[in-house]
Amino acid sequence: MPLSTQTEIEVETVATSLSIVDEGEPRECHLTSWRRAAIPWLKTPSLRSVMREPLAHFLLAGALLLILSSLFGRSAAGNNRSRIQVSAPEIQRLREIWTRQWGRPPDAKQMDNLIADYVREEIYYREALDSGLDKDDTIIRRRLVEKMEFLSQEIASTNDPSEADLQQFFESNRQKYSLPAEAGFTHIYFSSSRRGAAAFQDARDVLARLESSQISRADAAILGARLGDNFMLRSEYPPQTRDQIKNLFGDEFAVKVLELESGKWAGPVRSTYGWHLVCVLEHVAPRLPALSEIRSQVAIDYKNQRLQAASDGYYDRLRKRYQVEIDQGALAAAKSQAVPAPSAAPTAGSAADVD
C-alpha cells in the first residue's frame, strides 16, 4: 500500500472525469483514448513500442499518481475531510432562510429536505473544491456545486453509442427483449349488435359451410364480409402479441386465438364485439429478437440507462465516501416547531398504480 486512501480517491475522481462515466468499459480503454488525444508524440513508432511495455505503464502510472498526490495532497486533512456536521446553528440558519422566503416555517418533511439538500450541497462543494473548479473564478459556493451537478448531466448527454456499446448493452439485457408468442390471423365477424343471439349460430353455420365446401383460405378471407358482417377494424392481422390482440378484441379473444391450430378455420370465438370465425395464418413462438430487429428500441433504452446511471450513480458514489452526522436533537427541535401541513402529502414513489 504505497498510496494513501486519500490519493486513491483523487485518482478515481480524475479518471472519472476523463472517462465520461461508463461502467461498462474497462478503465484501460479510457487511458488509451486519453493518451492518444493528449500526447501526440506517443504516436512515433519507437515510442509506441516502448509504451507497450508493462514497465512503462507502471512507471507512467506511478508518475501520474505522484503528480496528483502532490497537487491534491494538501487537502488531505485526515478524517475531518469526510465528516459533515450539520450543527444546531446550521439547522437554525436553514430554517430561517426558508421561513424568510416562504413566509412560514418549514414542516418536518421540508426540514428533512433542507437538510438533505444541505448535505448534498456540502458534499458537492467539497468535491468541487478538490477538483479545482474554483481556480478560474471567484464564483460562489453554490455555483461550484451546480457545476458539479452540471458535469454529471453533461457526462450522460454527450457521445452517441457506438455499435459495440449497443451490442454489449443488448447482450447483457437480452431477456428484457424476449418477445412473447404471436399469432397472425384472418377472421370473419358476426355482429351481436346486428344479429343478436343468432350471431353465434350464424357463425357455426358458416363454419360448417367452410369445412364442407373446401373454400380456400384466401377466398374465404375475401368473402369474409359476405359470409359475415363488415368489421371496422382489420379483417387480417400480421403476427400480434396477446396484449396487442387484447387491446383490439378483448382478452378472451386474444387467449383463444393464440391457442388455435394454424391453417384452418375455427370458432366461433367471442370478442368484445360479437362472434368470429378465425383462421390463424401463422404462429410465431416466443423468441429473442436479433439486435438489428429492435435497434432503435435498444438505442433508446441504452440512452435512458446512461442518463439514469449518471444522475443516480454520480451522487451515490460520492455520497458513499462520507459519514454524515446530524445533530438529531436540534433537528427534532426544529421539526417540533413546524406548523402542520394543511393535508398530508403523499410520499413520493409510494403510491404505485398502473393505468
Binding site: 421540508q110 452540471f150 359476405r226 378484441f249 364485439y273 438489428s292 402529502a345 393505468d355
Partner: protein, 655 residues
C-alpha cells in the same frame, strides 16, 4: 357598492394573473442540458433510419390510429413552474407504453399505448427555461431562475411558486422576453434567449426523431405557438410538422407579437418544398370571443388572400382537452342538451369580459359562421376538422382514463385532495374539479407513418374523442344505396361514390335531392357500450344560420322519435357506490345509412357525427371514492364519453 367595486377590482387583478397562468400553460420550456451544447449531440436522424422490419402493407381502406398532439413537458415554462421535471423523452416513453413516474411520485402506465404523438412545448420562454438551468450562464443565478428551479420541491412549494411566478414574472401578454434572464437586448438574433431557443428547437426535433418507429409509433416535431391577450385570452395553436427540412428556429408568439396572421405567413415562407405543416387552434373556450372573430386579430377587415392562407394552414381544431370542451355550450347558439359537457365557463353576464363563455367561442357556431363568410369572401376560414388531445402538463400523453387519472398540471394537481377541492393556483377562481382528463385524436390512415398520418390530418379524415377509444366512420354521397352500411363492399363503395369525414360533398347530380350518409361507430373495448349515434347538421340561408341534431342510430332495439329526432332512454345505469354500469345495455356497434330528411340543395351545409357511450363514472367520483368522501355536488357524478367525426361540407353549385 364600494364592497362590490373592490371585489370587482380584485377579480380583475385575479383575472390578469389568470391570463398569465394560461399563457404559461401554453408556453413552455425545457431543460435538457445537452441541446444547448450541441457538439456531441445525436444527429437528427440517427435512430429513425432503422425500422424494426418491413412494414405491413398499407391498407387502402385505412385503419384507425389514436394519438395525442398536445403534450407539455419540462421544456414548457408553466409545466416547469408546476414542478414537472419529466422531459420530452420521458413523455415519448410514456406515450409508447412504458411505465413512468409522474410528478408527485405516482408510477403510471397507459393501458393501451398511443399510435402517434407530438410533444408541443410552449414556444415562448423556450430559451429562458433552458438558460435558467445552465450554470454556465449568468441567468442561472437570477432570482427568477432560482425560484423556478425550486418549483419541484414539493406540492406546497410548487403551488406557491406557480402562483407567485405567474403573477409576478409571467405577465407576458405584451409580447416580450424576460430581461432579467435574457438581458436588455430586443428580441432578435442577438438576444440570447432567442439564440438558446434555436438550439432547443433542434433538440425538439432530435427527440421526435429518436422515438419515431415507422409502423409502430409515429412522432412529429412541433411546438405550441402561445399567443395571448388580456386576461389569459388564448390564441394558442399547436404547430405540427410532417417532416423534411424544418425551419431553422421557432418564431414564437413573442417574436410575432401575438399575431396569428404573422404565424401563417412565417410558416408559408419558411416551411417549403418537402416541409409541410399544420397549425391547430385549441381552447377556443378561452378565446373571450376572439378565436373565431370575423375580423383580423388587429381589428382590420378580413381579406380573401389572408383567409385562404389561414384555411390552408389550419384544417383542424382541437375541440376537447383537459381545460374543457369547445364543441358547443347549451344556451349559446344551441339548445342541444348534449352540449352541457365538460364546460369550464358559464355564459357571460352583461359586461363580463373574460372567464365566461360566449357563442363565438364554440366550434359548432364557428362552422356555421364559416358558411356565411364563404359567401362573402369565396373562402371558408373556419372549415375545421376535429381532433381531441390532452394538453397534459405532466408529460403524460394519452392519460385519459377517468378511473386512473393523476392530474395534468405537474405537482399542483397530483393529489386527489387538491383535484377535488383546490383552485388551479392560489387566488385563481377556477376549480381543478372542473377540468377533465382530456381527449384523443383519431385518424383514418393507410399505415402508421408520419406521411400517412399527417396526410390524414391534413385532409381532415380525423375524429376527436373525449378520451375513450370509440372508432367512428362517416361517409357521404348522392348515390349510395339505402343499406350501404350493411353491404360487404361498404368501404370500397363509400370511398368510390362519396367522400369520407373531412371531405366536400360535390354538388348534387341531376335527379338527386338529398345526400345520404353512412354512419358507423364501435365501442371502446374497455369502456361502456354505445348509447346512440347522432348527426349534427348546420346550414346557412343567406346570412342566417341554423342547426339541427338528429339521433340516427339507437341502441337496445330502440328507434328515434320521428318528431323530436331523439332515441328513447335506453335505461343504462351507473352504480355510484362502486362505478359499475349496466353491462346489458348499449351496443358494441351501431351503424346506419341515413338520408337528410330536410335537405335543401341550395343551402350551404355541414354534417358531423357524435357517438355517445352509456354513462360511466367521472374521474372526480373515483377520486372521492379513493378518499372516502361524499360525491362532489358541483360537478356531475357521471359522464357520457363520446366521439366526434370531422364534418363533411356541402356547397351548392354556383348560384
Amino acid at each position: 357598492m364600494s364592497t362590490q367595486s373592490s371585489v370587482l377590482k380584485r377579480s380583475r387583478k385575479i383575472a390578469s394573473q389568470l391570463v398569465a397562468i394560461l399563457l404559461i400553460s401554453a408556453a413552455s420550456f425545457w431543460y435538457a442540458s445537452d441541446s444547448s451544447r450541441g457538439k456531441g449531440a445525436t444527429p437528427a436522424s440517427a435512430t429513425q433510419s432503422a425500422p424494426a422490419g418491413p412494414l405491413p402493407a398499407p391498407n387502402a381502406l385505412r385503419n384507425a390510429y389514436f394519438g395525442d398532439l398536445h403534450v407539455h413537458t419540462s421544456y414548457s415554462l408553466d409545466a416547469y413552474a408546476m414542478g414537472n421535471r419529466n422531459d420530452p423523452r420521458v413523455a415519448y416513453r410514456y406515450g409508447r407504453g412504458e411505465a413512468v413516474v409522474l410528478p408527485g411520485g405516482v408510477r403510471s402506465q397507459l393501458r393501451v399505448p398511443l399510435d402517434f404523438m407530438a410533444v408541443t412545448d410552449h414556444d415562448i420562454w423556450l430559451g429562458e427555461i433552458s438558460l435558467c438551468q445552465d450554470p454556465a450562464d449568468p441567468a442561472y443565478n437570477t432570482s427568477i431562475c432560482r425560484d423556478l428551479r425550486w418549483a419541484d420541491q414539493d406540492y406546497d412549494t410548487s403551488r406557491t411558486l406557480f402562483t407567485g411566478l405567474i403573477s409576478s414574472y409571467f405577465d407576458i401578454s405584451p409580447a416580450r422576453h424576460n430581461t432579467e434572464i435574457c438581458g436588455d437586448v430586443a428580441p432578435g438574433e442577438r438576444n440570447k434567449c432567442v439564440e438558446r431557443a434555436r438550439s432547443i428547437w433542434k433538440q425538439i426535433q432530435r427527440n421526435a426523431n429518436e422515438f419515431y418507429q415507422p409502423g409502430l409509433f409515429t412522432t412529429f416535431a412541433g411546438f405550441e405557438w402561445t399567443a395571448g391577450f388580456k386576461r389569459v385570452g388564448m390564441l394558442h395553436r399547436n404547430v405540427i410538422f410532417r417532416g423534411g427540412k424544418l425551419p431553422d428556429t421557432v418564431l414564437s408568439a413573442v417574436e410575432l407579437n401575438n399575431t396569428p396572421e404573422r404565424l401563417w405567413q412565417w410558416l408559408e415562407r419558411d416551411c417549403t418544398d418537402d416541409c409541410q405543416v399544420i397549425s391547430i387552434p385549441h381552447n377556443t373556450n378561452w378565446g373571450w370571443g376572439r378565436d373565431f372573430a370575423t375580423e383580423n386579430s388587429d381589428g382590420s377587415p378580413f381579406n380573401a388572400d389572408g383567409l385562404k392562407r389561414r384555411a390552408r394552414t389550419e384544417p383542424l381544431v382541437e375541440i376537447h382537452q383537459v381545460k374543457g370542451n369547445s364543441e358547443c355550450s347549451t344556451g349559446l347558439g344551441t339548445d342541444d342538451e348534449q352540449c352541457n359537457f365538460e364546460q369550464l365557463f358559464k355564459p357571460c353576464k352583461p359586461g363580463e369580459e373574460a372567464f365566461c363563455a360566449r357563442a363565438a367561442d364554440y366550434v359548432r357556431n364557428a362552422l356555421k359562421t364559416g358558411l356565411v363568410l364563404e359567401q362573402q369572401y369565396g373562402v371558408n376560414p373556419f372549415k375545421y376538422g376535429f381532433i381531441g388531445s390532452t394538453d397534459t402538463h405532466s408529460s403524460a400523453p394519452g392519460s385519459t382514463d377517468e378511473a386512473t387519472w393523476h392530474g395534468a398540471h405537474g405537482l399542483t394537481d397530483s393529489r386527489p385532495e387538491s383535484r377535488l377541492d383546490r383552485e388551479l393556483a392560489e387566488r385563481v377562481p377556477i376549480k381543478e374539479i372542473a377540468f377533465n382528463p382530456g381527449g384523443l385524436a383519431g385518424v383514418w390512415a393507410e399505415e402508421n407513418t408520419r406521411e400517412s398520418i399527417f396526410d390524414a390530418l391534413k385532409r381532415r379524415e380525423s375524429f376527436a374523442t373525449s378520451g375513450t377509444r370509440i372508432r367512428v366512420r362517416f361517409f357521404a354521397g348522392w348515390n349510395y344505396p339505402d343499406d350501404l352500411d350493411r353491404r360487404p363492399d361498404l368501404l370500397q363503395r363509400a370511398y368510390r361514390d362519396g367522400v369520407p369525414m373531412g371531405g366536400d360533398l360535390p354538388p348534387s347530380p341531376a335527379g338527386t335531392r338529398a345526400p345520404r350518409f353512412v354512419v358507423w361507430a364501435i365501442k371502446d373495448p374497455s369502456s361502456a357500450g354505445l348509447q346512440k349515434i347522432q348527426v349534427i347538421k348546420g346550414w346557412a340561408e343567406g346570412p342566417k344560420t341554423f342547426e339541427r341534431v338528429y339521433d340516427v342510430a339507437c341502441s337496445d332495439g330502440l328507434a328515434p322519435d320521428g318528431k323530436t329526432h331523439r332515441c328513447p332512454d335506453n335505461g343504462a345505469k351507473v352504480n355510484l357506490t362502486d362505478c359499475s354500469y349496466s353491462s346489458n345495455k348499449g351496443a358494441a356497434e351501431l351503424s346506419t345509412t341515413w338520408t337528410d330528411p330536410d335537405s335543401n340543395p341550395s343551402d350551404r351545409a355541414f354534417y358531423y357525427v357524435r357517438a355517445l357511450e352509456n354513462p360511466t363514472c367521472r374521474w372526480s367520483t373515483y377520486d372521492a371514492h379513493q378518499l372516502g368522501l361524499k360525491l362532489p355536488d358541483n360537478v356531475p357524478a357521471t359522464v357520457q364519453e363520446r366521439a366526434w367525426s370531422s364534418p363533411i361540407w356541402y356547397t351548392p353549385s354556383a348560384q
